[in-house]
Symmetry: C2
Subunit: 274 residues, 2 copies
Amino acid sequence: MKTFGAIEAGGTKWVCGIGTGPDDLDKIQFPTTTPEETIAAAIAFFRGHDIAAIGIGSFGPVDLVRGRITSTPKAGWQNVDVAGPIRAAFGIPVGFDTDVNAAVLGETRWGSAQGLDSCIYLTVGTGIGGGAIVNGRLVHGAMHPEMGHIKLPVSDGFAGVCPFHGDCLEGIASGPAIEKRWGLAAGQLPPDHPAWPIEARYLALAIANFSCVLSPECVIVGGGVMQQQQLFPMIRSELESILNNYIAAPAVLPPKLGTRSGVLGALVLAEAAV
Amino acid sequence: MKTFGAIEAGGTKWVCGIGTGPDDLDKIQFPTTTPEETIAAAIAFFRGHDIAAIGIGSFGPVDLVRGRITSTPKAGWQNVDVAGPIRAAFGIPVGFDTDVNAAVLGETRWGSAQGLDSCIYLTVGTGIGGGAIVNGRLVHGAMHPEMGHIKLPVSDGFAGVCPFHGDCLEGIASGPAIEKRWGLAAGQLPPDHPAWPIEARYLALAIANFSCVLSPECVIVGGGVMQQQQLFPMIRSELESILNNYIAAPAVLPPKLGTRSGVLGALVLAEAAV
């Protein structure tokens, strides 16, 4: 059995792993600093290991063909070639996709969506993004989904924090949106804070829209904000109310792989690159 | 070359055709009355013809496995088996899908999306519905898309006409929504009526959301309301403004097959059923 390398290239931290799956994954993480320093740390981690390929799930938006990050608001990371230096360092195949596409692959292979033909992985943290499987394959289309940027009815008058769209989903329901609205980080708000019914409402509206477009069998919701596990029953209840029995609500589940969906999905990207 | 039968089973009219493609399609249409009468009229049209299979693109929601219409608001058509009586009458394979899935197949085979790997067909008429192609294949998922029922920011205070969701996309932008808002049918409003900037805004918001979820190369917009062709440039301009260069806007095009996308797509369903 071949061993692969995996990188979950996030805007806050990178997680690198070596292994074949959840049972033998050896991983480290380090903060995302400059592109040069961060990519060099990843290369140092893989150096000397016998790996057949490396998969990268990256924050974005990305250019999938060129393996680059494109129009990110993250300073210093616009138009950075991520796949190129990794490929050059090891001379092995490199698979490159978005972080959320990696995560949905990981969850479909080993996690909450194991064996399903259609599902969505949504991450709710510093940003909001989604990856989707349709007919057993990743959705790319012209570029890749940017599910965090859909527009929803905004009922609480909040102007939103997205630099591109103001009150898109990411603008009203990401970690920074919660912090801006309440003056405290999501992790510091108690479970009975009035922030959570509002958050659940917006995530349920988003999942209702995703369900109308993709009809997924399940929607896995991960990311830092979802550490507030009281959100899950609130989202499910709002979702039923929004869909109103016109279509069946998909299962809304936490990621079985926990915080490892992305890095494990990057192993699947590596495997596919061989 | 085999000849196929095709049915576009709409809520207002049925279009039945026999042929192999756009150049030789022989078709008729008749109003949708009771299920018994309407299905009998389709059977009478195909009787005596040498056809290898019949494809049906139906209004919905539908149960694709059983070939039935399910929770439609259309009186008398709830839980009607459409595919069964057609299959029983001729003993040949019957392909069954939604009307908009048929339309997107037709447009991908012979129309505005010819050769594309990803696209959406949206119909804006008595109802609003969408079908999608991803990685060259129809999106079904747990059931099938119901794109007309997404929720959008509603800025004109209109309560909407959808019996299930009030102000979902279909509730605010379908033909009946326009008529309810202005007291005149869409076809009776002049091209410079204030209805059209509002309509274009809602359709652009919907297409922006679909683009964030599916990243399609093109979005084809058909249906009765889109006979108002001044809507196309208005939608494109609103769409650019909403997406704000974060992602590239897909091409927004009328259906090259005109009003025949659905019935021609049903031929493709027939072909696939063999």
